[in-house]
């Protein structure tokens, strides 16, 4: 956070999408959701789960970036949000990994 020591790193200025652009983003989100749901109806084989995770990540970043204005706001907000996200991902992944290791039959 040391890069934020300057005064006025910007408040509300910068580019704001127009209503039209918001609708376009929502259409993209809708298409991505349709693609997600299609994995239930059609057999995607081994790529289904990686595909779902990638689609989820894209939707996540799009909502956070455009609807929550993270792309246009100061970086501090992104850091706060993604610090929490990364903490959660790492800590709970380790916890689940411990369960997997423990339950695996020992060699």
């Amino acid at each position: 956070m040391s890069a934020t020591e300057t005064e006025d790193t910007g408040t509300d200025h910068g580019h704001h999408p127009t209503a039209r652009e918001y609708v376009q983003i929502a259409i993209v989100l809708a298409i991505l959701t349709a693609l997600e749901v299609s994995t239930y109806f059609f057999d995607f084989g081994r790529i289904a789960i990686p595909l779902l995770i990638i689609l989820m990540a894209i939707k996540f970043v799009m909502v956070a970036g455009f609807f929550m204005h993270l792309r246009f706001d100061t970086k501090i907000y992104s850091r706060l949000l993604y610090t929490g996200l990364i903490f959660a991902l790492v800590l709970y992944s380790i916890t689940l990994a411990i369960f997997v290791f423990e339950r695996a039959p020992s060699a």
Partner: protein, 196 residues
């Protein structure tokens, strides 16, 4: 806008900074529930498991919640242009979609209970209900916030130049939405493929 933003060290409004700080911590909250669900996804104690999910139904309610983010951001957009009337319209639309989502959740829970998936049935049941239930509580709080914004803008407590208030509630609303984006994939779709 932010009346005292110019006086702060980072040039940011306190309220927005606090909201982002709070949202960062929420990942740890939902993350623990999601991790618990994943741990217990097959621990059904002989009761119903993930095959009970009605994916088409949940897809529709997920879609409604996703689109409520669009109306929320349009409400903020309208407020930013000083159009309180249009802002109120979009706020009502957002709250309405939130209510539809909640109604869908109540319906889903009722069906599951009838099919034998009660909270006390298995660790799977407990973790499913408590995770999605707490998300529902967040949506409910969001609806309360939206309705308070709506009524305060009618009485003049929320003014044309105070679009920060709409933005703040929007941040919370979008956050609840992205949590559902994760839940929909990790709790419903992936287990359905991998387990069910």
């Amino acid at each position: 806008m932010a009346a005292d933003a110019h006086a702060t060290t980072l040039g940011l409004d306190h309220r927005k900074l606090a909201m982002w700080t709070f949202l960062g911590s929420e990942f740890l909250f939902f993350g623990a529930f999601v991790a618990t669900f994943l741990l217990y996804v097959t621990t059904t104690a002989g009761g119903p498991g993930v095959e009970i999910f009605d994916i088409p139904f949940t897809s529709i309610s997920s879609f409604v919640l996703l689109m409520s983010s669009l109306t929320m951001v349009l409400a903020h957009n309208a407020h930013r242009q000083g159009d309180l009337r249009r802002m109120r319209l979009w706020i009502l639309a957002t709250a309405g979609q939130g209510a539809v989502f909640l109604g869908g959740q109540v319906f889903e829970f009722t069906v599951f209970v009838k099919e034998g998936l009660v909270l006390t049935r298995s660790p799977f049941a407990s973790s499913f209900y408590v995770l999605t239930g707490f998300h529902g509580v967040h949506v409910f709080v969001g609806i309360l916030l939206l309705l308070s914004l709506y009524s305060l803008s009618l009485t003049g407590k929320v003014k044309k130049d105070q679009d920060l208030k709409t933005e703040m509630i929007g941040l919370y609303w979008h956050f609840v939405d992205i949590i559902w984006v994760v839940i929909f994939t990790v709790v419903y779709l992936i287990p359905e493929i991998a387990v069910g």
